[in-house]
Amino acid sequence: MLVLDKVSVSYGRVEALHGISLEVRKGEIVALIGANGAGKSTTLRAISGVLRPTSGQILFDDRNLTGMAPERVASAGIAHVPEGRRVFPGFTVGENLEFGGLALGRATREIRQEVEAILEMFPRLRERYKQYAWSLSGGEQQMLVIGRGLVARPQLLMLDEPSLGLAPTLVDQVYDVIEEIRARGTTILLVEQNASMALAVADRGYVLELGRVVLEGSVDDLANNEMVKHSYLGTGAEEFV
């Protein structure tokens, strides 16, 4: 469904991605893992059009997305939920959710239906429906931005660090939701530093290091790979002692 072919991206004169190739198939959850600065978020930004690749191609269902503006990538069916729980603070929860479909020019009735479906999935958001988004807790805001991304009815949902800065109990909740979204048939590209979490829900994964894919494979292969075990999963507290 989504294919990146040797995509390179630069910030100013410094190249941040050096020819990344990866693939996401329909119905999969694919995890991108790696340390901070490895190029995970940059990869997502290149796909969603925020950054323009200096070389390489991005294909989505055989459409060429390379260099397309973000708003057009969004209409093509890709929802990018950026890191940092970027709700619209001055909109209510309801307005935030509706906004997921608003800019794409969906009919009001269609948006309403989709919002209703999301509220079924996140009962907590229904309780807060009329509250301003700034008044929500961190976990609720994370649910809200994921929900907002889903209202767009994307074929591909890209989640950037959905667990960052959340306490472990909330991380569990977010990952329950991700599993539920997969059950609805939405394809997911997941960026995580929390590798153990990401590999627990994903089907396949790519390991990024310094702007290159250094490893790819099924999650079982990755989880049993010595390098991944050592560098990203850790083997428990004793590692630090």
């Binding site: 708003e71 209409s75 001055g90 767009a152």
Partner: protein, 291 residues
């Protein structure tokens, strides 16, 4: 008592003008995060344009007004292209000075086009007073109040009920996220410039018959509107209108009961008082009230 009522009406009318101009300020603060020093010049330009269209070219008043709105909206688009878009990744002060360059440009173009002698423009009502029993009112003041009230309702409807309005509000809150959700933010910012410019022009049309039209009128109104938007609370739309009304009322009351010489000082006195007592303005700077 009658006297006071008369004063209140004229104060509210002036305040509405300040409020409309302040509204333009606030829209640009929210959408582009800039202080537009040329906002006052929009008012001056609107006044001169309606004078040109209706008085010099003899077009019907309503046609002239529509033409002013169209020209000013177009100007807003051009200004966004020239003075904002190339600078949007620099800092706010740079952009402020750039709008100031535009302000100098507009003042001097106006000086060349219409001269330094103030012009009189009386439409649509002339300077006739109307008697309502004991009080006498300037019809233009009533027009200002009615039009300003309509515009406030209109913008509320526009920003809360229409799709474009919501897209603009989202852009004001978080550009990057709005973009990822499919909003063409460049277009939204350009539209905001057009809207702010058109609002300023319309304020100029309303203001024109109450004073003489002059090149300096923009600076006078612009500073007061700026003060109004601060008093109301940075980035707050209702605050801009309220702040404008406060300034308008303070000004006429001070001129009538204290000293007309120092009438301009009072706007700043109120500003300092508000900053001391309520450092965030009447409506505060809660994100909730933004956009």
């Amino acid at each position: 008592m009658e006297m006071l009522l008369q004063i209140l009406v004229s104060g509210l009318a002036m305040g509405s003008i300040y409020g409309l101009v302040a509204l333009g300020f606030v829209l640009l603060v929210n959408a582009a995060d800039i202080i537009n020093f040329a906002q006052g010049e929009f008012v001056m330009l609107g006044a001169f344009l309606v004078y040109t269209f209706a008085e010099l070219w003899g077009l019907p008043f309503l046609v002239a007004v529509l033409l002013v709105v169209a020209v000013m909206a177009l100007f807003g688009l051009v200004m966004e292209r020239v003075a904002y878009r190339p600078l949007r990744n620099t800092n706010a002060v740079t952009i402020i000075i750039s709008t100031l360059g535009i302000s100098v440009f507009l003042q001097n173009v106006a000086l060349r086009s219409w001269g330094s002698v103030p012009q009189y423009f009386g439409q649509p009502f002339g300077r006739q007073m109307i008697d309502l029993g004991a009080i006498r009112l300037v019809p233009q003041h009533l027009l200002i109040l009615v039009v300003a009230a309509l515009l406030v309702l209109l913008q509320h409807w526009f920003f809360h009920k229409t799709r474009i309005g919501k897209l603009m509000r989202a852009t004001a809150q978080d550009k990057q996220t709005a973009r990822l959700l499919g909003v063409n933010i460049g277009l939204m910012t350009a539209l905001t410039f057009a809207l702010a410019s058109a609002l300023g022009g319309l304020a100029g049309v309303l203001l024109a018959p109450t004073f003489y039209i002059s090149v300096e009128m923009g600076v006078r109104v612009g500073i007061k509107a700026f003060v109004a938007s601060i008093i109301g609370g940075w980035g707050s739309i209702p605050g801009a209108m309220i702040g404008g009304l406060v300034i308008g009322l303070v000004e006429v009351l001070a001129a009538a009961y204290v000293s007309s010489l120092y009438k301009d000082v009072f706007a700043f006195v109120v500003l300092i008082l508000v900053l001391v007592v309520m450092p965030k303005g009447i409506f505060g700077e809660k994100v909730a009230q933004k956009a």
